[in-house]
Every structure is written in C-alpha cells, then in structure tokens.
C-alpha cells in the first residue's frame, strides 16, 4: 500500500452508552483517493465515518476511545476544536438536506460563517461547476433549493461542502435515496472530485464500491454486535482476490 496517508485511525472504539458499536479499528486513509466502507447493516461503518469529523459528539452518550490522526494531531485531543475540524473534514448525508434557502445562499452560508472574504458570486459559480450542477441551475440561483429534484439537491449539498474547501469529504450513502441516473451522476462527480479532495464513502451498494473506490474497507459485526474491520485493501484486490473468507462470502452475495 502506498504511503500517502492523510488520516490514521488507531485502535478506534466508539461506545453508545455501554454498547461498544465499533471495536479496535485501524485504518490509514490515502490522500486524494476514494475509500469505500462496506459491510452489512449495523456493522458500524457510518459510526466510523461520523467519528472522523466528530459528528458523533452531537449524539448524547457517545464515547470515543483511541486516536484519529489528522495533520499530525489526534482529533480527539482536548485542545482540538470540533467546529474548526469540520471545516476541513466536510460531510454529505444520506438524505439530501439542502437548507430551505435559495440555491446561492445554500452555497454561501457555510463560506460566510467561516469568514470567507472573496467574491461570493464567483464562489457560487465555481462550487456549482465543480458539483456538475451549474448548467442546470445557473438561471435560477435565487430559487428555493427545496424545489430541485433529489439528485440535484444532493449535488447542491456536495457543492455546499466543496465551497468550504475541506481536505476530506465524508459521504454517508450519498446515493441511496436517489434513482439510478442521479446515482451515476453522483458517482461520476466523485471520480472528478477525488483529484482535489480525499473522499470516504459509506455504501450499501457493492457495485458502487467496486465502480468508484480505490480502496475498500470491509466491516463486520462480531458476536457482541460490535463492528470491526475484517479486511482493508485496494478495491481491486478486495473484489478479485479477497484474503478473508468472510469478505469473499459478503462480496459474492452469500450474506448481507
């Protein structure tokens, strides 16, 4: 495996109250690559994803043990500010969730709170172009974003995330609520974006993982329902020549 790590997960454990949702995860995420987390429901892949930008902090009763090293620091150190961390590690959610504001306000809101001083019009255009949405909305930037279709809304959410210029974009099943055509658009977009951003995606869809990701992590639950990492490798290796029997069973559709 190449050594261009942007993020190192070291013995990561996440608890919801007394329940250990995620057990001893060790992972190195490669810069400017797409990494997919796959695994059956409840295997903790979303929990791992949400611990990377500390979104789990917002859930009462969550406890995180272990380290996530980003820019030479453990993001769970007491002196790390979760708010400014999230400016560098953005997130796109399962259900498109644009703000009930105009299309351009959706883009500029994040930039404004982060003290962006540049030209807002230019930022809106650039972000929408990067998210392959510009041509569809350039004539209605003042319209409410909730009027867009689901696929357009999701690309707007991606544009909104890009506008803050993060290093890493986390995507939690970003296409699972969309139709196949909208899904393809999102997948194409992710390919393009990986030139400038590191992308980590959680997906239920194994074809999707094999189509778009460079690396794949397969997670499973153990007898205590705790999620753990079974295998992590280049996507081509995971799908063609998995080392672990469980991985092979899962990707060949024997369970899950």
């Amino acid at each position: 495996m190449e050594n261009n790590n942007i993020l190192n997960l070291k013995d990561l454990n996440v608890y919801y109250g007394a329940f250990r949702a995620v057990k001893d995860i060790n992972l190195n995420i490669q810069k400017n690559k797409i990494t997919a987390f796959i695994g059956p429901s409840g295997c903790g892949k979303s929990t791992v994803l949400r611990s990377i930008n500390r979104m789990n902090d917002l859930v009462e009763g969550t406890k995180t043990v272990g380290e996530i090293i980003f820019q030479d620091r453990n993001i769970y150190n007491r002196n790390v500010d979760a708010v400014s961390l999230r400016k560098q590690i953005g997130m796109v959610f399962q259900k498109p969730n644009p703000f009930p504001k105009s299309i351009s306000d959706n883009i500029t809101w994040g930039a404004k709170i982060n003290g962006y001083k540049g030209d807002m019009g230019q930022l809106v255009e650039e972000s929408l172009k990067s998210a392959a949405l510009w041509d569809e909305v350039k004539d209605k930037l003042d319209e409410n974003a909730l009027r867009l279709s689901g696929g357009q809304q999701q690309r707007l959410c991606i544009a909104r995330t890009i506008a803050v210029k993060p290093e890493i974009i986390l995507m939690d099943e970003p296409a699972s609520a969309l139709d196949p055509i909208a899904t393809l658009k999102i997948e194409d977009l992710m390919k393009t974006l990986s030139k400038d951003f590191t992308i980590i995606i959680v997906t239920h869809n194994m074809q999707q993982a094999s189509r778009i990701s460079d690396y794949t992590a397969f997670l499973m639950t153990d007898e205590n329902r705790s999620g753990h990492l079974v295998e992590y490798n280049r996507t081509s290796k995971i799908f063609i020549n998995p080392k672990n029997k469980q991985t092979e069973d899962y990707i060949s559709g024997r369970f899950g």
Partner: protein
C-alpha cells in the same frame, strides 16, 4: 365479523340492532357537533343584532364610530379610537415583553437545554399560562405600577396605566409564545442541523442561521396567536389600565381598552335597550373581527409552513 355468522365473508351484517346502534351513535356525535357550531353562530347573531340596533339608533354613524377620537356615552359621543388605541397599546407593550422573552426561551429550550431539563420546564411554562388572569391584574396593580413609579417618578406614572397592564399581559402570554415557538423549532428536521454542523458551524450559528429561519413561519404564527390573546384579554386591563376612555399615546396614563369598557359596562347597572348598553355589542363584534382575522392569518401561515417539509 362473528365466526358464527352465516352470511358470506364480504357481506354486510344487516341485523337491526347493529344498524340502530350505528345510527344512534352517529346521530349523537352529529348532535354535539351541531351544538358547538350553533353556539358560535348564536353568539355572532346576537352580537350582530345588538350592534345593528346600536348603529340604527341614529345616535352614531359608522363613520363617526370609526373616526371620532372621543368615547363619552354620557354625552352621546361614540368614537372607538380611544378604546382601540389603548387596546393596541397594551397589546403592543405585551408583545414587546413576550416576543423577545418567548423566542429566546424557545431557542434555549429547543437547542441548548438537555432533554431532562426541557421535560421539567415545559410543563411549568404551561402552568404559568394557567394562572387566573385576575391574579396578573393584581400583580400589575400592586407590583408593576409601584415599580414603574419608582423608576420614572410618582408624578409621571398614573395609578392605572397601560404600561403596567401591558407588561403583566406580556408575562401572561410569554409562556404560550415560548411553547408554540419551541414546537416550531423542534420540528426543524435534524438533517438540516447536521448539515450546518458538518460545514463547521457553531451551535449559535446553527440556531440563529438555520433553525430559527427554518421555523420562522411557526414562530410568526405563535406571535400572532399571542397578539390575538392580548387583544382579547380583559381582566388584567380592566384592573390595571384604568376606567374611562382616554385618547393618549403615553403608556403611563390611564386609558380604558375595548375589553375593559365592555367588562365595566356589562357589570354595571345600565339598563337594557339603552344606547350605552348596545354600544358594547358594537365593540364586541369589532373585537371579534380583529381576533378572527388574526387567527385566520396564523392558520394560513401554519398551513404554508407545513408544506415545506412534506
């Protein structure tokens, strides 16, 4: 369907007892529904008839009623403006108190307070709204007015004044505004908040930049319902705002409101069929129209706001 029934599975049970029972229950429920509607219609009818008598008495024209700034029934002067003015003043003062208090309390409860705290405080807010309004009236008279006198001077502030009544009314309606606004804020989908946090927003930025704007129609509806409550509130203004109409914009002067006047006249010893007596129905129907319009507006706002997240 009873297992022993000989009829087929999809056939109606047409036995008489069941049919009669169904009809009886339906009729009974219908009857109660009709009662509640006819009572409302009865009230509107009485108000209209008596108001018509008032305007057809020849003592006052509609134009004079709405334009004259004098309300002196003794000398046949029936201009509603002084009463309307003091109603609007007390309501405005009440909203100045209840609006900010209500919205900040709502933001705190929905965004900052723990679930545990919220579960304990919300019922207390609702109890506050259940205190008899006459108690608030005493409170205005015996606490707020002396308090205002101490601050602004004993000569400046009358014993009865619209400021004290308005402030007490504000305290009365603030829990209602807080509770309704809190409902609106809590109804904002958590996905929106998560998205905002994901962009690196602080709690304050999420609350003020995303949650409040997304709930703004619900909050506006709460304000309008609060305003409509203030316009119709009687006991506090009857006790603390003073008796006798007074066309003034000074909140420290005594000035009777529409409701205050109705309460005083209907409780007094004025005979039926006098113009004075009929005048309270003219005021009543006007008051009814104001609150009706306010309630319709708030309904419309709530309807529009429900559409957004469907």
């Amino acid at each position: 369907m009873k297992p022993g029934n000989k009829a087929g599975l999809f056939e109606k049970d047409l036995s008489k007892t069941l049919l009669i029972k169904e009809l009886l229950i339906k009729g009974l429920l219908n009857f109660f529904a009709v009662i509640s509607i006819s009572v409302t219609m009865g009230i509107v009818y009485i108000l209209s008839v008596e108001a018509f008598l008032f305007f057809s008495s020849g003592e006052v024209s509609l134009w004079e009623f709405f334009s004259s700034t004098e309300w002196q029934p003794v000398i046949n002067k029936f201009g509603i403006l002084p009463l309307l003015n003091s109603t609007l003043m007390t309501s405005l003062i009440a909203m100045l108190v209840a609006g900010p208090l209500g919205i900040f309390a709502a933001i705190y409860l929905s965004e900052y307070a723990s679930d545990n705290f919220k579960a304990r405080v919300k019922p207390i807010l609702e109890i506050l709204a259940g205190i008899p309004t006459i108690v608030y009236g005493y409170f205005a008279l015996t606490f707020i007015t002396p308090f205002l006198k101490n601050i602004f001077g004993h000569e400046v502030v009358d014993v009865y004044n619209t400021a004290a009544a308005g402030i007490a009314m504000g305290i009365l309606i603030f829990p209602m505004i807080a509770s309704m606004s809190e409902d609106a804020l809590s109804a904002v989908p958590s996905g929106l908040k998560q998205a905002a946090y994901g962009l690196g927003a602080t709690k304050l930025e999420v609350s003020t930049g995303i949650v409040v704007p997304a709930a703004v129609s619900g909050i506006m509806a709460a304000f309008i319902v609060g305003l409509s409550r203030a316009v119709g509130e009687t006991m506090i203004v009857a006790l603390a705002a003073g008796a006798g109409s007074n066309f003034t914009f000074n909140p420290f002067r005594s000035a009777e409101t529409m409701t205050g006047y109705i309460a005083r006249i209907s409780g007094g010893d004025i005979g039926y069929d006098t113009v004075d007596y009929n005048s309270i129905f003219a005021i009543g129907i006007f008051l009814f129209l104001i609150t009706l319009v306010l309630n319709i507006i708030s309904q419309k706002i709530i309807e529009r706001y429900r559409e957004i997240y469907d």
